[in-house]
Symmetry: C2
Subunit: 345 residues, 2 copies
């Protein structure tokens, strides 16, 4: 059965409300004399996000026969980690909007935002330690190991992209892009939640490996689709600035394709624009760049690549079938494949 977006939406919102309750239990928001630290920690998690990562962990665990109790707190912890990194990413990328509201550093300044992110990271570790009692020692240590690797891969991916930005380098091929996105998105948002969910269900290493083969191409497809949305979506729908990626000079597959296929003078003009600090960029020039992207048919190119990765994920999913019985959890995982490329927000 092909992906059912409504069914997927219901599953997501169901998980999200459970995860939000759990996050409220993890963060003592009313605690006095901490300079408002915990209140600020709750800001991003309670904004309307998709909650894809915790839902993926929950669906994997439950689809493999694990109980909700074994995974819920850990899923909430992943969401807390994710929001901590979003706070830091927004500082690093100079982003202005996050989920329809101003970013935390815009609201409270960079110092407070950096510290709130650090506090969230610290807070997210303890529930993982408590997993020893919840899922047993082996899986608990394994979860910690997977989350540690995630944090490291994510910092590597971010460093790679920041170095490209700093050097204003635009000569990378699709392979470089995929390598960066593997670290920044696939491991972080797809492989880790799926594997953590499997560990909470005490699944064998073989199942976890098969889940990785499913989650990696899914993550790459998701990121390319995300970049497409940024250029094609409307601000009111996606909750970030439209064309924010062009203003930030973000290294997307789309923009890399446009620069690679454009003629020399246009490429030079684009690179000169992208090398300017955001505040110095001219709106008319950003429009021109968006135009170039359209003329080079880079959106269609990127859409094709995203579909190719989604197909790979679909093939890998078929290999997972024998470990998953029929359930709403399994349906969610299958629906994800179409969702990541077809979503509108």
């Amino acid at each position: 059965m092909a992906g059912d977006p409504q069914r997927l939406g219901l599953y997501l919102s169901d998980c999200r409300s459970q995860v939000q309750d759990e996050i409220r239990a993890l963060i003592p928001a009313d605690r006095a004399d901490t300079g408002g630290l915990y209140r600020l920690m709750l800001d991003y998690p309670l904004r309307e996000g998709k909650g894809l990562r915790p839902a993926l962990a929950m669906a994997t665990c439950r689809g493999l026969g694990g109980p909700l109790d074994a995974v819920l707190r850990t899923a909430a912890t992943l969401e807390l980690f994710h929001n901590a990194f979003l706070v830091h990413d927004d500082v690093e990328d100079g982003s202005e909007l996050r989920r329809h509201r101003e970013t935390l550093h815009q609201l409270h300044g960079v110092p407070i935002a950096v510290n709130v992110g650090d506090g969230m990271l610290a807070l997210a570790l303890r529930p993982l330690l408590e997993n020893v009692e919840r899922v047993g020692l082996g899986p608990a240590l394994n979860v910690l190991d997977v989350v540690t690797t995630m944090a490291r891969e994510s910092a590597e991916g971010q460093a790679l992209e920041l170095s490209w930005v700093q050097e204003n380098r635009w000569d990378q091929g699709d392979r470089d892009y995929v390598r960066m996105v593997y670290k920044k998105t696939a491991v972080y948002s797809f492989v880790t939640p799926a594997v953590v969910g499997a560990l909470c269900a005490r699944a064998q290493a073989q199942v976890r490996a098969a889940l990785s083969r499913f989650a990696v191409p899914l993550g790459v497809a998701f990121q390319i689709a995300d970049d497409l949305l940024n250029l094609a979506g409307q601000e009111a729908v996606i909750g970030k600035e439209s064309c924010g990626d062009l203003w930030e000079g973000k290294h997307t597959l789309i923009l890399m394709h446009a620069l690679r296929t454009a003629g020399g003078p246009e490429r030079q003009r684009a690179i000169a624009l992208l090398g300017q600090p955001r505040a110095d960029k001219d709106a008319a020039e950003v429009d021109w760049l968006l135009n170039l992207v359209h003329r080079q048919d880079s959106l269609a190119y990127a859409r094709d690549v995203a579909r190719r990765y989604a197909r790979r994920a679909a093939v890998s999913f078929a290999g997972l079938a024998r470990w998953f019985g029929d359930s709403v959890h399994r349906d969610f995982l299958e629906d994800l494949v179409d969702y990541v490329v077809d979503r509108t927000r």
Copy 2:
């Protein structure tokens, strides 16, 4: 026997070279294709620091009879955590110098500095997981728990101070200062290394509690002495800007005392100056503020408070004697009491 600064210096430099070798082994600095991430992670740890925290962990473990092997990697990990937080703290405080060189964000920009700090935090977790094999499951989980608490207390202390800065509040009493410094310095730099060292030696809870009673007042005395050095020390010796605390408007016991005891008009003038962003501050006004601090005898006041806390630490140390045999490690711990208040850098 009173503290012997030369003996202490030798012990510190001995620990430092062992810890630096260990940190070099932890950070794959030559790893390609990571945007220089690991090379930047090594920057702060290899600058000439005191290495007080790892030395404290090592001395505690070995003084309690634990082998070097049981503690060295964990001590290096504490130093890595510490340097990660320094990178973020420097961003948060807008500091310009760290250990005689420009801060990381001055050299490479805020985005890269925030990410390097995150990467160091991620890298520091794995050796703690490997402690399960090194010191056994119970102590290893306990170390993770203590480090998690440290990260959380430290974020709370930082949040408290940042909220004071943001509101330009100067009506706190010494108790508020001590509460903030307990979180920011005592738990972070003294209690955690000592307790972690004890855990690596598989010491009982009773010993760890006694070590905390020693480490808390030691940490408070250390921070007050640090603030004194900032105002009285010379830049070339302390490796930070002289009077940087006044430029940053840092909430020190000294400055709080000066403002509390000064007359209304002077207090108003000081608060107006402290509320300005660093770049807008006038050098002549900062000089005037330093003068006010001297006129109010706030340095002497703070020195007295620091000595009082150091005496408390000395009394607590006497209570530790029965668990420590005679050793260079025990001597180091005892020497620390005088060192924290008498040091010149």
